[in-house]
Subunit: 545 residues, 2 copies
């Protein structure tokens, strides 16, 4: 028996587009004599469809897409993911289903039982969990059909669920497991995924065909990396990262085992590729081609520009240099050098007159109060308005250049440097931004060395340095990581050896700046806990603040 | 037996503050010879605590709060809501519990079974549902203890859950029901709540003591309106809206029935009171006193200013008039009149020079392209920067003045008039903004009549009217309501008699402007479906767009 894995880049709500891709993959699988072709979870509508699922029309369009695929299933079985209607009035109205199509019609459906409802996932918001499990019989084989999380309640120290769907299916003596997933990227996820699949193979002794999405949907990035695992636990194949791909496997060979194919999983390289994918799909799926961003000569905007140039082509990235009286000499020259290294169009628009006009308007109302963060913000906001003016006039999307460290502690100006339609490196701590810069320069200097080595500064007052108001990034980032990714409280972090006052100060900064993050662009998610839809915090909360 | 209902305004994560309030209420209940005092759902930590629940330290502080309350329970039973730890390793780590304290210690806990996971609710993100139900025996009575949603799976045409906790508890012959709730306001909710409680009384024939929160937590507003219902279905008492209140009831009298006390539920008056509460608590809980806003002479900013003046005192609301060359004569005079009617401080800061400075900087780069929305946005953004400058210098919170109709269709400038820390009327359609203005003027003209009667205009180009680019608000708002609140698709809306092209255009505008709403302030929620945390839409989705 031959099984085809179709790892595709879907587009949420683009039913025609998704169907077309799937029909092409069916054709390709058929031409390679596959008996079955498997798509990802909710492949008809894309993942995550979010509250579009509340519209009957959206569900009907998904059903129509399944019906059209069924028509193509006369000589090849097709396994597709789709929302389906729950016929029982009690409970949620939908199921998240794997649908087995053959002979022109739906042969069987297996609904998802374990509904991830944590981090960026909201599945119990929409779906009723399955309570029936039945293997699919096809050409003399029994197939255990599962959807994503259904195989994730194995091998965890603190299991999230009280049930385990494969325990039920195992009683029916399946020959192999198919899993339809939409499992988003984070820089350790490919490794975790392999561990979980191997824990299933250890427990059940069955070959597994795991099919993931590739491509990005706003902030959520799918890395692909679909897997075929042999009963001996060997990774028979791991599909490419961040690419669409259709591959066909002979079941006998998978069962034999002994072969292991893996890809490198270097953190910074993965983050780099994920972000490039994220930018490309954000623009592509919205129908935009060109980006604009402010280039300060600092490392954050340099790395953002470099990633955008890789994703969109340097000619499609307009860099704007907006020096002020506090800008150092090197800020313009470093920024210019970067633009030249890439062959990126750039403009220089000084903000002095805009800043002065705001000061003229406001000084009579400032009651003689001294220069403070207000005036710093006026500079950042003058830049924001200029960038948005160009963005509006030419239809470019403004890229936000804030990193995760500064977003965490509120070191940025709302409606100023926090402007932008997409936050490119908002899930990358400053220390990793440096590593990204080094990675980008791995084959030669693209980001000027001076941009990487000079001390970070917002250049909003004379001789300002980030280190004037923030702890060293090495320490800051580690405390932030413990608090944000690891949800460790102050006591646990201090026990790790960090200074008590520093920890209290950093955690307080994170919490009191929730209001700023609430109003920033979607952040390309590359870690296990990004700001945005996966981290939901009260604004008026009085906790560690 | 005497039962005290304590309807309090908690503060998320402010354990000391919440405990102090509860201990005072215990004292008051004791002084009135109550046998039991009942608080709201998750009253130790406030509702919704959101991802703070992922921190062990946060849960420990809740437990500490319960322990301190237990110390006060020697002579009076206390029923408190708190997150508690799930001792079983499988499943979610927490329960959402009602805890019965007496004689100095925890006597019993009843966990919540039905976990709302829709709209603004994310409870299955954190909590394991209860599967055990046991009445509390106290002074010869059996009490069915329930938490919020546990009594909501009754009387619905399309029940969300397959189980019904009171069915289980009813087998143990309880004498009455206590329900700890955190059930947020929307303008029809008080009526719905009564229907659901009466459906329970119809089914089980038991007296019910329903305890809600009052006050606002960022966007979520609790109206109180706690209820005592007799077995004959009569509303024995409905506690005041938007106020803290402790009241004591004699069980015998509640059982007798025959008494009905209700409050008026007029939509616009409720919205008005809800928003005033929302503003007051947003400022109070964040420790701010003063607001700033742009006053254009139009109805949205006028209504926002009026509501802010009621919430904070007119002397704490700074109005800024920022005329441009496109402003009409009446825009300044109407705005001034409003400020004078309230005795509100105001400043006039023309934006001409700021706008000109941006045009000077940008025109050389605009390649001769004609005046369009870019220049309109430059005006709105100049105003945004001025307002934020004053906000930063004096520590005032900027109020956003966008209404729901314009937020829906993207008729607003990101980083311009969409600036602000709190969206005051972002859940109020334009037609209801007019009704609010009339309501505010119910005892005499506060909002100038001309502000209410002149045709709405953004005044960003010569002789501009909203009706140049948008359908009439009467029609627009109805289509938006069907799409947003009622989740009707294009087909269903057209079937209601709306023009096909208009419907397609409006729905498209809503969907393609998701990116703008993503970056706006939290919106005070007064309807059953507000923009923000309760409506989660993909940005790159290609659906009706």
């Amino acid at each position: 028996m031959k099984i085809a894995i179709a790892q595709l880049n879907y587009h949420i709500g683009n039913f025609e587009g998704n169907l077309k891709k799937m029909l092409e993959a069916v054709k390709e699988a058929r031409s390679k004599n596959a008996d079955i072709v498997v798509f990802g979870e909710l492949s008809t509508c894309g993942y995550p469809p979010r509250d579009f699922l509340e519209f009957d029309d959206f569900i009907s369009k998904s059903e129509e897409c399944v019906a059209r695929l069924a028509e193509a299933s006369n000589d090849i079985a097709i396994v597709v993911g789709s929302p389906t209607k729950n016929p029982v009035i009690e409970g949620k109205d939908l199921y998240n289903s794997a649908i087995f199509l053959y002979d022109g019609k739906i042969q069987q459906m297996q609904h998802k039982a374990l509904l991830p409802t944590y981090d960026i996932f909201d599945e119990y918001r929409y779906f009723e969990p399955a309570n029936e499990f039945r293997v699919v019989e096809f050409k003399g084989k029994k197939i255990a059909l599962t959807v994503c999380e259904d195989i994730w309640n194995v091998g965890n120290e603190n299991p999230l669920y009280v049930t385990c769907p494969l325990d039920e299916l195992q009683n029916q003596n399946p020959d192999f497991v198919i899993n339809l997933s939409a499992s988003p990227f984070s820089y350790h996820h490919a490794t975790n995924r392999i561990h979980v699949l191997q824990a299933n193979v250890d427990k059940y002794g069955l070959p597994m065909f795991y099919v993931n999405h590739s491509g990005a949907q706003t902030e959520v990035i799918f890395d692909g990396g679909s897997l075929v695992i042999s009963p001996d636990g060997k990774i028979h194949d791991e599909l490419p990262y961040f690419q669409e791909c259709v591959r066909v496997y002979e079941l006998d060979e998978v069962e034999k085992g002994g072969i292991e194919r893996l890809q490198p999983k270097e953190k910074i390289a993965l983050i780099h590729d994920a972000i490039v994918t994220g930018i490309k799909d954000y623009f592509g799926k919205l129908g935009f081609k060109k980006a604009i961003l402010g280039l300060s000569g600092g490392i954050d905007s340099a790395v953002t520009a470099a990633l955008a140039a890789e994703a969109l082509g340097a000619e499609n990235v307009l860099a704007v240099l907006m020096p002020s009286k506090f800008s150092s000499d090197h800020s313009v020259s470093d920024a210019e050098q970067l633009a030249k290294n890439y062959g990126m169009p750039y403009k220089i628009i000084p903000i002095k007159k805009n800043y002065d006009a705001f000061m003229d308007a406001l000084t009579p109302h400032f009651e003689g109060r001294p220069f403070n963060v207000t005036e710093e913000n006026l500079q950042a906001r003058s830049r924001g308005v200029i960038l948005m003016g160009l963005s509006n006039k030419f239809g470019h999307i403004l890229l936000n250049t804030s990193n995760k460290s500064e977003m965490a502690v509120g070191y940025g100006t709302l409606y100023g440097d926090m402007c932008g339609g997409l936050s490119v490196i908002g899930d990358v701590y400053k220390t990793d931004v440096f590593a990204l810069a080094r990675y980008i320069n791995r084959n030669g200097e693209l980001i000027p060395e001076n941009t990487i080595t000079k001390p970070p500064s917002a250049e909003l007052r004379p001789n300002q340095k980030d280190s004037d108001s923030l702890p060293d990034y090495d320490i800051l980032d580690e405390v932030l990581y413990q608090y944000i990714e690891k949800t460790q409280g102050p006591k646990e972090i201090i026990e790790q050896g960090f200074d008590e006052k520093l920890v209290a100060r950093v955690l307080r900064l994170v919490n009191i700046n929730e209001f700023k993050r609430y109003q920033t662009a979607p952040v390309l998610r590359v870690s296990s806990k990004a700001f945005g839809m996966g981290r939901r915090m009260p604004i008026v909360g009085k906790y560690l603040s």
